[in-house]
């Protein structure tokens, strides 16, 4: 069976005992088919014949996607099956957008929806959909937009509204949709970047309004502090969603994902932990304090925290840079080193935030202040 199909089979029916051997197989495939990754592995002295475990596979920095084409250029694929996604960010004032070519979009779809089903729709519900981020037809280069479109297709029922495009978010339309859902007593799923959500909350407050959305309503936010002048804390999102939209805190679920990865992680809450086959509740107890929430990835994603200096895995409970091995990235590079700090505990992840800033220090300009001046 071709490696792509092997991965797809695993996503549909994960067998944890097979993960590492499949990961090593995927690594061999990527070594053979992604030229610059092969070059990088050779610099690091990692040939497939010498790599015996997951931890020995060289992880590629997400920064690499800003500069290099990291995709399978050997395996024949139909253009219609492939998509190219771009990151939205800029780095140090340069307009450097990351580019991730996904040769088999069906694998991305299977990965995204498979884990979403467990984490955001474990009850099997279908409902009205409100997106505060553009959908794929409006922003085809956005992997988040693609995911939102799939969510609407797969889990939507009744009305669905997207109130965002490249220019911005129409908060007034979003509020009208929420009012209509409330009037009809129909649950709604709200999908938004954290920045768009902050704008929505501000407007609800400004109107001295408060929603009481129907039971079963839920919210997925993503992006964290990115793009926000005054960032919302994770706990604040949960508090505001409860106070302003009337949502049960367990139904407010933050997504952690990135363009460079076809799999995502979601907050473990009493809602999805109760219903998910994947979550061993004795190990991954959903935290009551939203600030301490932990995230769970799918069975086809290995997550580790590594020491940024040695790149070795740190012990559970210690902070490090988050490193993933995502089987769903089979068509590009699966071993990804992020710029995010986090703590792994019993297979769950507590994301601590971006690690780009150095510490500010007296008598020397801190990176943070410097960056602030530059922006």
């Amino acid at each position: 069976m071709a490696i792509y199909d092997e991965v797809l089979v695993f996503i549909h029916a994960p067998e944890q005992a097979r993960f590492e051997s499949l990961a090593l197989h995927v690594f061999r495939h990527q070594f053979d088919t992604v030229a610059l990754y092969r070059q990088y592995c050779l610099v690091r002295g990692a040939r497939p014949e010498d790599v015996r475990s997951l931890d020995q596979i060289p992880a590629l920095s997400t920064a690499a996607f800003k500069y290099a084409e990291l995709t399978d250029t050997v395996t024949p694929s139909r253009p219609a099956d492939a998509r190219v996604f771009m990151t939205s960010g800029t780095t140090a004032g340069r307009d450097e957008r990351g580019r991730h070519r996904v040769p088999r979009i069906d694998i991305y779809r299977a990965s995204a929806l498979g884990h979403l089903r467990r984490m955001l729709f474990p009850d099997g519900a279908r409902m009205r959909m409100l997106s505060l981020h553009p959908t794929a037809d409006r922003m085809p280069e956005s992997s988040l937009a693609q995911m939102i479109s799939w969510i609407i297709e797969e889990f939507g029922a009744g009305d669905a509204l997207c109130v965002a495009d490249r220019k911005g978010v129409e908060i007034v339309s979003a509020l009208e949709f929420l009012h209509s859902s409330q009037r009809q007593g129909q649950p709604v799923c709200v999908m938004a970047t954290t920045a768009a959500l902050a704008a929505l909350f501000d407007e609800v407050r400004a109107q001295r309004s408060r929603f009481s959305l129907a039971p079963g309503s839920r919210l997925m936010d993503t992006g964290g502090a990115k793009g926000q002048a005054v960032p919302l804390r994770p706990g604040q999102v949960v508090e505001d969603a409860q106070a302003l939209l009337g949502l049960d805190p367990a139904m407010v679920i933050n997504e952690y994902g990135m363009t460079e990865m076809c799999s995502q992680l979601y907050d473990a809450t009493p809602f999805n932990a109760r219903n998910s086959r994947r979550i061993d509740s004795s190990k991954a107890r959903p935290e009551e304090n939203p600030e301490d929430r932990r995230k769970l990835g799918p069975a086809w994603l290995d997550v580790a925290a590594v020491d940024p200096a040695t790149l070795r895995r740190v012990a559970d409970g210690n902070p490090g840079l988050l490193r993933f091995f995502d089987l769903a990235n089979v068509g590009s590079v699966s071993a990804i080193l992020t710029g995010d700090l986090g703590i792994i505990q019993d297979g769950t992840v507590r994301v601590l935030g971006r690690a780009e800033d150095g510490e500010a220090r007296g008598c020397a300009l801190g990176m943070e202040q410097f960056a602030a001046r530059e922006s």
Partner: protein, 452 residues
């Protein structure tokens, strides 16, 4: 436990004074300790500037000897507290103390006004001994000093002052070293109240801004030394040996104090074409490697710094790896990394970071996360430097200048016009002269204000 590390009490100063507070079996509140220090200092006789210069000169001379027991103990304590290696700390303290001689102290004494007031010092924790220039100036001016050492680095000034007390108890009676957290509001209030001459503070810009507001509320002057950046300008000499000397010197400047202070260079601009600048970056990398063998890096880097260095390295690596044939302006980049990939049988491969040189041909001034991470760029002409400073404009402290003698005077003057307070040869950045106008001469201004 070293006495000087006990928090919350007055811990240094003359044997007859604050050591009693530290040794007292009964707990002494920080506020009471500061009040007592202030009272004692007001009653202490003022010494002549010659006597102060001689005492400080003798003290520094003792401390320049690596085998001097208080220095050895301090280095050991600092290594443990700051994570820097003893060899690195020794070399760094040598550089710091080098300019503090009896002769230079006498010369400085002639420049400072008499300021018979009490000054508070809020010391930084990132660079041990930073602030000693201002301490010397204040003592020479006849001032009394309450030095609040940083929580993370409570050793240097406490132990240095003890040696001063052994050399000349009367001079040391004008200094007390205390240690309390900046969040100790009562202690800070007492410090502000006691220090009629003003407060000298070192910290990040946000801390200095907060202290400025506090100073204004209390109508007390403040000399604030906030965040500053340093760099280097290199005109390759006629001979390879001149470039080698410059690279060796800059490697030392980058390495000392683990690049944690305002005098540590972040970015080196090389006047010449891309080939010359790249060549210099390679020389600098080799020099950093040689130095790293003699002055080892910390056993463990702070997480945030290590993560920042990792991010910079990976961006540079991939910009370099993804260079199209023929390169191009935006792809004129190269990375040299200190450290090695560790292969140990049966274990996951790992690596270690010792130093990083990022050559980015056309970059504007970049701030480094420290720990021996330096940027190198090319300048077609030296007078383009101002345009390439970017966000560092108005925040410069020191620049190393490597240039032929005929160009040196002009370039030195140009750098000072850009706001650089200290221009020196490569290798001398951590040894500014005693009369260095740190932060634009804020200390001298404070003393002048107090003298009126």
């Amino acid at each position: 436990m070293n006495r000087a590390t006990r928090p919350g009490t007055a811990v240094g100063g003359s044997p007859a004074g604050e050591q009693c507070a530290a040794d007292s079996p009964a707990p002494v509140s920080t506020t009471a300790a500061i009040a007592r220090v202030a009272t004692r200092m007001w009653s202490a006789d003022r010494c002549s500037s010659d006597r102060v210069a001689a005492a400080l000169g003798h003290t520094a001379a003792r401390w320049r000897k690596r085998e001097f027991a208080p220095r050895r103990e301090t280095v050991a304590g600092l290594a443990s507290a700051l994570g820097m290696t003893p060899a690195l700390l020794d070399e760094s303290l040598d550089a710091l103390l080098e300019p503090i001689t009896a002769a230079s102290l006498k010369l400085l004494a002639a420049k400072v006004p008499v300021a018979d007031r009490l000054f508070g010092f809020l010391m930084p924790g990132n660079v041990p001994g930073a602030g000693i220039h201002e301490v010397c100036a204040a003592l020479l001016a006849g001032a009394g000093l309450i030095i609040k050492s940083a929580s993370i680095e409570p050793l240097f000034f406490a132990n240095f002052t003890r040696t001063l007390a052994e050399v000349d108890a009367a001079v040391a009676a004008r200094v007390a070293v205390v240690n309390f957290g900046r969040s100790d509001d009562a202690a800070m209030r007492e410090l502000w109240a006691a220090c009629d001459g003003g407060v000298v503070a070192y910290g990040d810009d946000a801390s200095i801004a907060a202290l400025s507001a506090a100073a204004a509320r209390r109508a007390r002057p403040l000399a604030g030394f906030g965040s500053r950046l340093s760099g280097a300008l290199v005109l390759p000499g006629a001979s390879p040996s001149a470039a080698e000397t410059a690279a060796d010197g800059l490697a030392r400047d980058v390495t000392l104090f683990e690049q944690r202070g305002c005098l540590s260079p972040h970015h080196v601009f090389v006047v010449g074409d891309a080939g010359e600048a790249r060549g210099f970056a390679a020389r600098l990398a080799r020099a950093l490697e040689r130095l790293a063998r003699r002055l080892p890096t910390p056993a463990r880097l702070p997480l945030a710094a290590a993560a920042a260095i990792r991010g910079l390295r990976e961006r540079a690596r991939w910009r370099a790896l993804a260079q199209p044939p023929g390169g191009g302006r935006d792809h004129d980049i190269a990375l040299w990394e200190g450290g090695r990939i560790i292969h140990s049988h049966g274990e996951t491969p790992g690596e270690w970071m010792t130093w990083s040189v990022i050559y980015d041909g056309t970059a504007t001034f970049c701030a480094s996360p420290g720990y021996r991470t330096v940027f190198v760029s090319a300048l077609q002409r030296a007078d383009e430097l101002g345009e390439r400073l970017g966000a560092a404009v108005g925040r410069l402290e020191a620049f190393a200048l490597s240039a032929p003698p005929d160009a040196r005077v002009r370039l030195d003057a140009g750098l000072r016009l850009l706001g650089v307070s200290y221009v020196c040869e490569p290798g001398r950045m951590q040894s500014p002269p005693l009369d260095w106008p740190h932060g634009g001469g804020a200390m001298l201004e404070l003393l002048r204000g107090a003298a009126r």
